[in-house]
């Protein structure tokens, strides 16, 4: 990791200098390769959207319920005791035999014209689409993704729910494109070798779990894009200095993030820490840095303030939509009468074991090895509602490929150890960001598991750090050295493409064959 010298316009990865109308200039400033990578991510996600059966992306049923209610009524779902989903969604789910198929690997998705006719009948008769609104698991989420989806819902010339869902899925595909774009830009700030930017970004674009999630109606996709944008903004600020303009970009990422998914709040301590580091390190241009940080935080405050006002005055609910308040309830075990309080030791050992091998003095919290079973296998592919996966030998084969790549990445880091020392404020900030998210997963995970008996963590919870996934792939290629780095980079892109294709075939096999 060393600083990147400005490449001349028109060089690989750089925009061509050409006279363009002003409104296109900002697009032209984006490297051409980044735009291609983003387009690839969009197309790949669109394929996922087309082949994944409706509602078979995790929690898609409840995200569609929120979105439909918002589109139909202008309100967020917040009616205690109300219907969780509309009659229309319930009817469609029934005709899709959703509850009979989800979790049952032997069951096909719809397979006959007779079933399709029954579904068509429900969609033509259109039972009440606006009588959802009850409090469900997504109710506490902020509304930005749903609001964008509502625009598509309302603008759709097709009125059937399954038809609208497919169109809204393309919004998620656009988010995947944005994520890939920001990953590219993040890598551009990180690595001096332009070819690594393309390798890392395409590895993300074809990552099957990223594509799969981006093929569903799910606010995680906007959350991932905002997180990637935040990391890009911070990386750029650490390298070039924080300015008011860059602060506005970081603030925009923060604003979109907190309005897209409540999980983004876990990134806020790290973001504030990073802004503090940027101000502290800005020796010569502290004024610019202070103004930049102020702009960032002001945008964040405006977003949160506006959201709180809407919640209080229009939607008649708690200031942050019940999100943070619910989290606080969970933290003190309110509403879980009779459940033993969770002490700090349990909390720490649970969180430790989520990511690291259990130490001898720790009580076993899982009965399996989460770094492999949750994070590794989940990243290689657990599709559908975690009911579509490969035989175990595939994951072992993937591990056999992953370990050498890990060694190569470590080698690349070792070779760049002096540069690593130089950028320690950035690395420390990334560590704080990661600690916030990882800690929050541990915090909620132990409570969720204790309350419900179900496992909590899924690999996608770490996808706010897809930029690091891209960086890992780029580092692995760099680790192969000057002679073999580029061919290995190309091989890793091919590997990602094959991985993605096989995952798509797996979904086809599960639901249609």
């Amino acid at each position: 990791m060393s600083s990147v010298t400005e490449a001349r316009p028109g060089a690989p990865g750089q925009p061509r200098a050409a006279a363009r109308p002003p409104r296109w200039r900002f697009i032209r400033r984006i490297p051409r390769a980044a735009r291609w990578c983003a387009l690839v991510a969009f197309l790949n996600a669109a394929v996922w959207a087309g082949l994944t059966p409706i509602f078979h992306v995790p929690d898609e049923t409840s995200h569609v319920a929120y979105l439909q209610y918002l589109a139909e009524t202008g309100k967020v779902p917040n009616t205690p005791g109300g219907n969780g989903i509309s009659d229309e969604e319930a009817g469609v789910m029934e005709q899709l035999r959703f509850n009979d198929v989800v979790g049952f690997r032997d069951e096909l998705s719809l397979s006959s014209e007779a079933e399709q006719r029954n579904l068509d009948l429900v969609e033509r008769n259109r039972p009440n689409p606006a009588n959802g609104g009850g409090v469900i698991e997504t109710s506490g989420q902020p509304p930005l993704y749903y609001a964008l989806g509502s625009a598509i819902y309302l603008a759709s010339p097709w009125k059937g729910l399954t038809q609208r869902v497919l169109l809204i899925r393309l919004l998620s595909a656009l988010c995947a494109a944005a994520t890939t774009l920001f990953v590219f830009m993040f890598l551009r700030e990180l690595f001096a070798e332009p070819w690594t930017w393309t390798v890392g970004a395409l590895a993300v674009a074809f990552q099957p779990m990223v594509g799969f999630m981006a093929g569903g109606v799910h606010p995680d996709n906007l959350f991932f894009a905002a997180s990637a944008a935040l990391l890009f903004g911070l990386a750029r600020a650490f390298r070039r200095g924080l300015t008011p303009a860059l602060g506005a970009g970081i603030g925009a990422a923060l604003a979109v993030g907190v309005l897209s998914k409540i999980n983004f709040y876990a990134l806020l301590p790290g973001a504030v820490f990073a802004l503090g580091m940027l101000v502290w390190r800005a020796h010569g241009r502290r004024g610019d840095a202070v103004r930049g940080a102020a702009v960032s935080l002001a945008l964040l405050a405006v977003a949160l303030g506006g959201y709180a006002v809407l919640n209080k005055t229009v939607w008649d609910r708690q200031a942050l939509g019940g999100g943070v308040e619910n989290a606080a309830d969970v933290s003190v075990n309110r509403g879980a009468a009779g459940v033993e309080p969770i002490n700090l030791r349990e909390q720490l050992t649970y969180t430790w074991q989520l990511y690291l091998p259990r130490l001898p003095f720790m009580h076993d919290q899982f009965g399996y090895f989460p770094p492999y079973s949750v994070w590794f296998k989940g990243t290689i592919g657990k599709l559908g509602w975690l009911d579509t996966y490969w035989p175990n030998w595939v994951y072992r084969l993937a591990l056999g490929i992953f370990v050498p790549l890990l060694v190569l990445a470590a080698l690349a880091l070792w070779r760049r150890r002096q540069a690593l020392v130089r950028i320690w404020p950035a690395l420390l900030s990334y560590a704080v960001l990661a600690a916030g998210v990882m800690g929050s997963i541990g915090f909620f995970g132990i409570r969720f598991t204790r309350d419900t008996g179900y496992d909590f963590a899924q690999a996608r919870y770490l996808f706010p750090f897809l930029a690091f996934y891209g960086a890992f792939v780029a580092l692995a290629a760099l680790g192969a050295g000057r002679r073999f780095g580029r061919p290995l980079g190309a091989a890793l892109v091919m590997l990602a493409m094959i991985h993605g294709l096989l995952a798509q075939l797996l979904v086809i096999s599960r639901f249609y064959a």
């Binding site: 690989p12 990865g13 390769a33 291609w36 990578c37 690839v40 197309l43 790949n44 669109a46 394929v47 087309g50 082949l51 059966p53 409706i54 899709l96 035999r97 198929v101 049952f104 032997d106 069951e107 096909l108 998705s109 719809l110 397979s111 006959s112 007779a114 079933e115 399709q116 579904l119 059937g160 399954t162 869902v165 497919l166 332009p194 070819w195 930017w197 393309t198 395409l202 674009a205 074809f206 002679r483 073999f484 580029r486 061919p487 980079g489 190309a490 091989a491 892109v493 091919m494 590997l495 493409m497 094959i498 294709l501 096989l502 075939l505 086809i508 096999s509 639901f511 249609y512 064959a513």
Partner: protein, 199 residues
Amino acid sequence: MRVRVVIAAGLALVAGVVVVLLLLPAQRRAGSDYVPEFGPAAQLRAGGSHCEHNQLIPGDTGALNLLVGTYGRPTPRIDVTVTAPGQGVVTRGSLPPGHRQGRVIVPVERVDRSVGAADVCIATGPGGRTVLYGEGQSIRLAWLRPGSESRLSFLPTIAHRLGLAKLNPLGSWLILFLALVLAVAWFIALRTVVREVGP
């Protein structure tokens, strides 16, 4: 080693894998009654029978996949008869005795088109008790397509199913359209790799 060589090798690998996958025998699910196998649902004595009513028999059905328990003894003869109002016997078939308990495939005469409101009766021949599995009083009926076929020959069926239950003016051609979109994505990606990573 040049990037183009790596890409060519990768594409050759993909082509090989796809060809192998297409030529291998496929799962041949035709459909089911969506009843999960949670536990014993019916117990038949020798010569007994159990019927499931108002069933949808999917088109292209040629066998019934049943989970049976016989307390360790060989399975008895198993007869399957499907009747529908106004159509009489839609299909029937039987499995000779002597199989190990567990999953058994009872071949039936091919049903070309879906049949609704059918009664499916399963009868056992001489032998011991036979347990059928499902949920509550309902047993799981998992229908299979007849014979053996590769994924390639199964592709039209997959294409038809993939085209259902979504915004899709293309019908069974949707799968081809998606393959085309993916091919475009791959082309752009590989072109970008060649340009940015190296020739």
